[in-house]
């Protein structure tokens, strides 16, 4: 396939809750496990023989079913995903694993358990600070989850399977790393909209097939001429973002996204899990627990700032565009703190609120234009 065809394939994967690769997987008698958050390691599901499927709301017409159970003060991401689930459009999942990522997703957990009623439901308690003193709890929660999956589905998640899963997911990470490396070029061969499409698709299809498609895509991108037609290079950060159209609206103003430090983007992958001896589940847990922290985490803001500063430097970015879902409190706190930190650091920073599945509106476009003018681009 050519580059455009490959990108079209990835686009098709992310349009609706189901995609052709997922359908084939299910038709072959395989199972699918849903989850919401980067702190729930997909390696565990792969080792159990499941396809890890990161829940999102694409394909939801509106949030009406979710609205029946949740106030409009909850974010549209959660209400739209719940609408899909309550309509039965996620019944292809053999189970879900949730965590108290935030107040909104905690309540989504209640609905999954009591209303959606998939065959398997589990909930893990993830500590709110990525500190060594709390790591044992997180590991114990993952061990509990592993035991619940094994017990419910009558299977064994062996160390060998976990190691194989680590290898598979590391190979995806390696491909994502290569993709991001190419974006450091002065004329990146892929836009932010396209890159986010690709990284989002990774969460929704079998990894072997994703990796194969990525190899083809990287082959095309490696020597591609790239696009130098932009006014500024920006890093996108903030809360989860699985809506490439939103990025398209930003990029149309001339702000090329060269890295997305968001869930579904770079934050979902991180560095490879080190190849080492010892308990593979513990290696997975360490990788996830001490990954680039999200706003739900406390006592680690300096790490978040350091990551952003490094990313700005490595990707030669002119500024940061921060986005978060309206009503998201953890990211609301970080928006405030990042604004002032970035001002201290002299890094231009624009914070945008958004609703799920709403492409960049006129207001957003105007703000991006003003931001570019302000930084002299």
């Amino acid at each position: 396939m050519g580059k455009n065809e490959l990108l079209k394939t990835f686009q098709e994967v992310i349009q609706k809750p189901r995609n052709a690769y997922l359908d084939d997987w299910i038709k072959s008698g395989n199972k699918v496990m849903g989850y919401y958050c980067s702190y729930i390691p997909e390696e565990l599901f792969t080792a159990a023989g499941f396809l890890p499927y990161r829940i999102r709301g694409a394909g939801s017409r509106d949030s009406s079913e979710g609205d029946a159970y949740m106030s409009a003060r909850l974010c549209t991401f959660v209400r739209q995903t719940m609408s899909l689930a309550l309509r039965g459009e996620m019944n292809f999942l053999d189970g879900v694993v949730l965590a108290q990522n935030c107040d909104h997703i905690r309540r989504a957990g209640d609905l999954f358990e009591k209303k959606v009623k998939l065959p398997f439901y589990s909930f893990i308690s993830i500590p709110r600070a990525p500190k060594e003193r709390l790591f044992d709890w997180y590991l114990a929660e993952l061990k509990r989850l592993k035991g619940e999956i094994e017990g419910h589905f009558g299977l064994a998640i062996t160390d060998q399977k976990l190691n194989e899963s680590i290898a598979l997911h590391n190979s995806t990470r390696e491909r994502i790393r290569k993709l991001y490396e190419l974006r450091k070029k002065d004329a990146p061969p892929i836009t932010g909209e396209e890159a986010l499409t690709v990284t989002t698709a990774a969460h929704l299809m079998p990894r072997q097939e994703f990796n194969a498609l990525m190899d083809e895509l990287l082959g095309h991108l490696r020597d591609a001429k790239g696009t130098g037609d932009y006014r500024a290079r920006v890093i996108i950060t903030g809360g989860e973002l699985d809506n490439p159209e939103f990025l398209a609206g930003i990029e149309q103003q001339g702000a090329l996204s060269v890295a997305e430090v968001v869930c579904f983007g770079q934050r979902s992958f991180g560095d490879p899990i080190p190849d080492a001896a010892g308990d593979p589940l513990e290696r997975i847990a360490r990788h996830r627990f001490f990954q680039v922290p999200c706003a739900r985490m406390v006592e680690c803001f300096d790490d978040q700032v350091a990551t952003l500063k490094n990313t700005v430097r490595e990707f030669k970015a002119d500024g940061i565009i921060f986005q978060r879902m309206k009503f998201c409190d953890p990211w609301a706190g970080d928006a405030h703190n990042l604004h002032w930190r970035m001002r201290e650091e002299g890094i231009p920073f624009l914070a945008l609120d958004r609703e799920y599945q709403v492409p960049a509106s006129g207001q957003v476009k105007t703000r991006v234009q003003a931001f570019l003018e302000k930084i002299g681009k």
């Binding site: 029946a68 159970y69 949740m70 106030s71 003060r73 909850l74 959660v78 965590a99 108290q100 935030c102 107040d103 909104h104 905690r106 309540r107 989504a108 957990g109 209640d110 609905l111 358990e113 009591k114 909930f123 893990i124 308690s125 500590p127 709110r128 600070a129 003193r133 709390l134 709890w137 706003a295 739900r296 406390v298 006592e299 803001f301 309206k326 009503f327 409190d329 953890p330 609301a332 706190g333 970080d334 928006a335 405030h336 703190n337 604004h339 002032w340 930190r341 914070a351 609120d353």
Partner: protein
């Protein structure tokens, strides 16, 4: 006006004047024993806080999900809940000062949908209204808005902060997990306050906390009486008591005031509603703290009383076994997880939130429930559908509306009054008459 002989910033002086003004009016009123006790307590808290500043004693900030007993185990250290000024301002002072702090935080970049109490606390820090902390000890409950606030507080002050991770459930495993964290927090507190943690003092603090708890347990029982012996506006003050005064003799004095007043009024056969109560409701989620007279209005106009609410409910798991250091830490952890209002109901599955409500409706013989949805409490608002279904199944009529418990600009009192009046007239009264 001066507090303790020194000029303080206007915001604090308004609070202090408010407390003194109310005490001037009601101190000698035998009918106001409970309210007087807590107003005196609030004034004492202010005195203690300023005394600590003047004497150069360390102040440790904590949040409303964190009961202060552990901090009180340190010699000469003053705990300060970050929500204190907002609560005192709304209850005793002038809500205009709260809304100014909220606006100040928003102007500084805090999103409007963050809880008003957290925005006001950030506003207070920006306005330099709080004494600088030696360090901060926070729990990640009751909500994510507190996460936003504590991260902002850490950024704004640059002071050391320690988070106690509050897990999803509240079983014995979780109690041990939190107790371990509390033990590990002691060296952190000692290091940054320069004060020694005294286990014997901690034991006394826990015993004091238990004494307070005994009165609160009795008080919860007495408010079940029909007719309800005490006014509605008192009930939610329990949360302020627990957050600010747990482990402090002042807390026991307040709880005793609550209990004694209820007991005496029952003995005298008095009702909180002049002319007799017609309706009883359990008020769930958050109280209207910017206008306590609103509760007087409910009683006088609708003959409606709130015998219990989410903030007033004192779960019986609170008693701390003081026999060993470990038992004390576990007892405190149990209290944090299973007792502190909001933390108890909101941090885990929705069942604990709903089950408490249904039990309160039964125990307090409520004719209906009022789900007063504080706009920032997404954990509660996110469960409204299941809450409604459970109410329907239990046959308990439920009024639901959204408002802001610290900011009257979101939903004016007249609108809330309309909601309640219509519900009582259109749903509750016909139902009672039919029965």
């Amino acid at each position: 006006m001066a507090i303790l002989g020194r000029e303080r910033q206007v915001d604090w002086e308004v609070v202090y004047e408010g407390a003194n003004g109310l005490l001037d009016l009601y101190e000698k009123d035998p009918e106001s024993k409970g309210m007087n006790a807590i107003i005196k307590g609030f004034r004492q808290f202010t005195d203690n806080l300023f005394a600590a500043i003047d004497e150069g004693r360390p102040v440790v900030w904590h949040n409303c999900g964190c009961s202060p007993e552990l901090i009180r185990g340190l010699e000469d250290v003053q705990p300060m809940p970050i929500e204190v000024l907002t609560v005192l301002q709304d209850l005793l002072g002038d809500v205009k000062h709260t809304t100014d702090l909220i606006d100040g935080a928003e102007a500084h970049g805090v999103a409007p949908e963050v809880c008003s109490i957290d925005k006001a606390a950030i506003g207070a820090v920006l306005k330099d209204l709080y004494p600088q902390p030696a360090c901060m000890l926070y729990h990640n409950t009751p909500c994510d808005s507190q996460i936003a606030a504590i991260k902002a507080m850490t950024e704004l002050t640059g002071k050391p902060m320690r988070l106690m991770d509050i897990p999803y459930l509240s079983g014995d495993r979780e109690v041990k997990y939190l107790a371990k964290q509390l033990r590990e927090a002691i060296p952190f507190l000692e290091e940054h306050t320069g004060k020694r943690f005294d286990w014997e003092k901690f034991r006394e603090v826990c015993e004091e906390s238990n004494r307070t708890g005994e009165y609160l347990r009795d008080w919860n029982e007495l408010r079940r009486h029909k007719p309800c012996p005490q006014v509605s506006k008192m009930v939610a003050l329990n949360t302020a008591l627990l957050v600010a005064f747990s482990g402090d003799p002042e807390g026991t004095a307040i709880a005793k005031g609550f209990r004694d007043e209820a007991k005496e009024r029952i003995e005298r056969g008095e009702s909180s509603v002049e002319g007799g109560e017609l309706y009883r409701a359990v008020w769930y989620q958050d109280p209207v703290w910017w206008d306590l007279q609103f509760y007087d209005w409910m009683e006088s106009e609708l003959k409606l009383v709130i015998p219990m609410d989410l903030f007033g409910y004192y779960a019986s798991e609170a008693f701390i076994d003081t026999s060993t250091p470990e038992s004390m830490l576990e007892g405190l952890a149990r209290k944090d997880l299973r007792v502190l209002p909001m933390s108890r109901q909101f941090k885990g599955p929705i069942d604990s939130f709903i089950d408490d409500y249904l039990r309160l409706c039964k125990d307090y013989q409520a004719d209906f429930g009022i789900f007063a949805g504080h706009v920032a409490c997404k954990h509660g608002l996110g469960g409204i559908g299941l809450f409604r279904e459970a109410s329907r199944e239990a046959g308990i009529p439920l009024l639901y509306f959204e408002f802001d418990m610290f900011d009257p600009r979101v939903t004016p009192v007249e609108t809330i009054q309309d909601h309640i009046t219509h519900f009582v007239e259109d749903v509750v009264r016909p139902r009672k008459e039919a029965a």
